[in-house]
């Protein structure tokens, strides 16, 4: 906290650095939307017939919203209204499935004449608010199962509804709330488990279930070694067992074609061994009151279940286009003209930008319309092509600065509600940033999700404006009164 308590006017109490980063990003977005539709004709950037002109209107209204939130509303309102707002938006989320219009395979938009509105965007705000309300209650303890279930409910219900709308991208953003929970005392092991689950899923699909299983066993062994305390002896024992297990598939591959060993798959042998070991250690852990041993053994069982169900999830739970996108991303299928088209085109656009870019309005890939959805989900391509690595660097630094600023402000705040809400905002922006830019440069599968503040679209811009400025208002109020 800065030490200057003497002059606490309105101007000083707002985090202007955050607001400037916000303003810079929306202006960058606006200019690049203009560039991305430039080939349609030499229209003015204010022409309302085009997306850039419309975006100008969205920007003006967003600024109006920001001013309204900052100066007209009592920040206390958000905490008290969080539950009704949450339930209201949840109602909209369900209603849109039945009443909405279908856009690109997902039913998540309400249409009022020329204006389309996506409740999923607003749901991020209300979920953040309710999450902050729940987590900031004085008697709340995340380690308690009842409270944990409550939090899971707050996050999980809208997430599932959004999944039902086939808006997988927006649903993925909710995973970001785990970081918030982590900050509020949620065990890091859970983060670790989720990371492991994703790793195993990818390994099972790209390499083979055997490799995936061996990795799982290896990781569990490392955990066991670290937790046991007797580092030296356990390391050697575990290493020896692990090498022996690795040799199993190799040796079985060498067996004679018609022998008994050849007929049983190494996968089942390893699984059998692992399951037996897991039950043995669960029993031992229970007897020795070694909770870690039991839990890690349970983890092993869960991991095996995941590996076996991956095939099922991949082929039966995921939708066709999502499966194809994952296949392309993981390099299982190369398909530059089909599903991989978007990624390929977007990487070409960004890659061709070089260090300094081709210059404003000079991009050939984006202005000639090679990149689909370029003013919305793929706006980053225009940045990459016309402004080069330098432009991308500046944009990413602006985002990082913004998220960093929000987290720093949140940590400074004395109200736990403000702190938790700040973390929610940071997590939302972070998830959007990572998924969106990740997909344009081939780090993530193509999941339709806008780049905050840059992408064209009223719903998205309004939602992020409200999301950010609620935090700015909450933080300002604190500064004002302390």
């Amino acid at each position: 906290m800065s030490g200057n308590f003497s002059d606490r006017g309105v101007k000083q109490s707002i985090d202007w650095k955050l607001v400037i980063a916000y303003l810079l990003l929306i202006i960058i977005g606006w200019v690049n939307i203009y560039a991305s539709i430039h080939s349609d004709g030499p229209a003015s950037i204010f022409d309302f017939n085009y997306r850039c002109g419309k975006q100008f209107v969205w920007i003006l209204t967003s600024l109006g919203l920001a001013v309204f939130i900052l100066f007209a509303l009592n920040p206390q309102f958000w905490q008290s209204a969080s539950l009704p707002l949450y339930l209201g938006v949840l109602g909209l989320l369900v209603a849109v499935i039945f009443l909405g219009v279908e856009v690109k395979g997902s039913r998540s938009w309400f249409e009022f004449g020329p204006v389309r509105f996506q409740p999923a965007e607003v749901s991020k705000i209300t979920t953040s608010l309710l999450l902050a309300t729940v987590l900031s209650q004085t008697n709340f303890k995340i380690t308690r199962l009842k409270d944990l279930l409550l939090v899971a409910l707050v996050i999980g219900v809208p997430m599932l509804v959004i999944l039902a709308e086939s808006e997988t991208g927006s649903a993925l953003v909710y995973i970001g709330f785990i970081f918030v929970m982590y900050r509020e005392g949620f065990s890091g092991w859970w983060l670790f488990c989720i990371g492991m689950a994703i790793l195993l899923f990818i390994l099972t699909l790209t390499a083979s279930p055997v490799v995936s299983l061996l990795v799982l066993i290896g990781v569990i062994m490392v955990c066991a070694v670290i937790s046991s305390g007797r580092l030296e002896t356990t390391t050697w024992i575990n290493l020896g067992i692990f090498i022996l297990l690795c040799l199993v598939p190799l040796l079985m591959g060498l067996a004679k074609p018609d022998s008994f060993l050849h007929k049983i798959k190494p996968m089942y042998v390893l699984t059998g061994l692992a399951v037996c070991a897991a039950f043995f250690f669960i029993y031992r852990g229970y007897k020795n009151r070694n909770r870690f041993l039991s839990l890690s053994s349970l983890g092993l069982l869960a991991g095996i279940a995941l590996i076996f169900s991956t095939d099922f999830i991949f082929n039966n739970v995921l939708q066709d286009h999502q499966r194809k996108r994952i296949e392309v991303l993981l390099g299982m299928k190369d398909d530059p003209a089909g599903v991989g088209y978007n990624v390929n085109q977007s990487m070409i656009a960004i890659g061709s930008g070089g260090l300094f870019g081709k210059g404003f309005l000079n991009g050939t890939q984006t202005t000639f319309g090679f990149v689909p959805e370029q003013s919305t989900d793929f706006i980053f391509c225009t940045v990459g092509e016309e402004w080069g690595f330098l432009g991308c660097f500046i944009v990413i630094i602006l985002y990082v600065f913004m998220i960093w600023r929000i987290i720093v402000d949140a940590e400074k705040s004395r109200e736990s509600f403000t702190r938790i809400y700040g973390y929610c905002v940071a997590a939302c922006i972070f998830m959007h940033l990572f998924i969106n830019i990740g997909m344009t440069i081939g780090l993530m599968p193509v999941i339709g999700i806008p780049l905050p503040l840059l992408s064209y679209g009223g719903s998205s811009l309004w939602a992020f404006t409200v999301l950010i400025f609620i935090f700015v208002a909450l933080y300002r109020q604190e500064k004002k009164y302390y």
Partner: protein
Amino acid sequence: MLIGLVVVAAIILGKLFYIQIIDNKYKINASNNSMVYDIIYPTRGIIYDRNGKIIVSNKVTYDILVTPREVQPFDTLMLASALEVEPSFIKEKMDEYAKNRRKIGYQSVVMLKQIKPETYMKFAELQYNFPGFRGQVRSIRDYPVNAGGNLLGYVSEVDQNYIDNHPGEYRPGDYAGKTGIEAAREKDLRGEKGYHIYLRNSRNQIEQRYKDGEMDKEAVPGHDIVTTIDADLQQYGQQLMRNKVGSLVAIEPKTGEILTLVSSPGVDVSMLADISQHYNEILKDPHKPMFNRAVQAPYPPGSVFKLVNGLIGLQEGTLNTTVAYPCNHGYHFGNHKLGCHGHRSPLRLEEAIMMSCNGYFCYVLKNILENKKYKSIDDALDKWNDYVQSFGFGHKLGSDFPAELGGTLPTSKMYNKRYGKGGWKFTTIISISIGQGEVGVTPLQIANLSATVANRGWYRIPHIVKASEGVEIDPKYYEKQYTMVDTTNFKKVIKGMWRAVNNGKGTGCTAAIAEVKGLDICGKTGTAQNPRGADNSVFICFAPMDDPKIAVAAYVENAGFGATWAAPIASLLIEKYLKGETSRPDLEERVMRGNLMSRVKAYK
């Protein structure tokens, strides 16, 4: 948590750095992506005959292209009548495009190929009614002279296999010569493709010319080819061979230039321009019109091969023109006999050639193979093989005609394998003395024999392309290929050949039918056994005797005696070439009307 943020930002920036600065792959792609190379196809070279007459040229047709995404509802009946197709055809096509709309996307597809300019004009007038439809000019081959499909060859779209075999030269949609002269001289005829570069958007719409056409490359037309073919003679040869199965080849002896090369039945030139339309029809034809008999069919040469054996005998000294051999309706050995027709006996070489005596030539080969000079019959036969090879038999002649075959010649190794070492003697292989048995030669090789005899001992490799401006031919075609037989020995044989034609009817000469007063045609008949029915009729000849201008081989399957069909065909061809017209209308009519197709067993 902040560390995590920085790590993620670093990963993203790292990847960006990699694709924007380090990896060049995406930059190369980017220029491909926005620049569209509109390929300009060069006009294919024209093919001329030896006298400057055009045998193959180009003509304009139109393809009708459709861009299904741009098509709006239209009057099917009006379009059908403009394009002269059934309305159901258009309906079918549009249904097909609708079914494949995802695959087609914004591309154009060919709906109708090679429509006539008149039809296109009708369509062009109404085109504004049919958005999404347009015509595209295409140049196809035109054949003013019916010079035969097997000789000229056809041009068709390259398939993947062809592209793979010619790396870097072709792209899908290109055309290439596949057979005949078109294939032999593909590199000269095709020219160089050019391109115009345009900038386009992802909907495949052209936006503008790249750098105002500065980087464009114009197409370079293909080289014209002058062939050695005489178009009139070729056409006349086609007429003579109509409704017969076999080949007719004429060579200018001094140069080795092929004047005429007919393979009958052949692919009609009217089918050549659009061969793919007729492909099934051609494949189904039981007489295999695509099979170029003139260069690919290994036939037994029959009695014309006696000339070769006679020449070898003379050169080896085992045959003397003054010695006469008896023939009592053939050559008798043990209980067997190699039969001969009735004629006076005994005979000397000249008369033996004139009358085509089988018995005489059995002695000729017997003396060659049982020559004391050689340790065994093996050595003698291999020496004989060397001699025959020097006449251009038993291996590919090396003509510039694609897919030429070399035929077969027996060797001692072959007989040893079949009969065991020492298990065979002259009488075992007696049939090769009269050009039967293991001897297999192509009509081109027989014609080359005729030219070799006409030249008295040497030949130039037969070829179909002449050197002309910008087109070179292999220097080997200028070199004389000498046989292992001396010129003086050829003179002795030629006398017999002259008498075979000009000795006068009733004197026992076999080819009196080929005689033309004043032309001094020298010839030799052949009647080769054909396991698939009646004998093949064979005749070789050249004229005039003292200054040969043309050497001919006619080979007609299942046509009987050499004198019945092959001799008049060859004789008429020579007369036409040397005199410009023929003087024997009755004979000409008999030949042209003759239909021997029913005698030929069809291939299944």
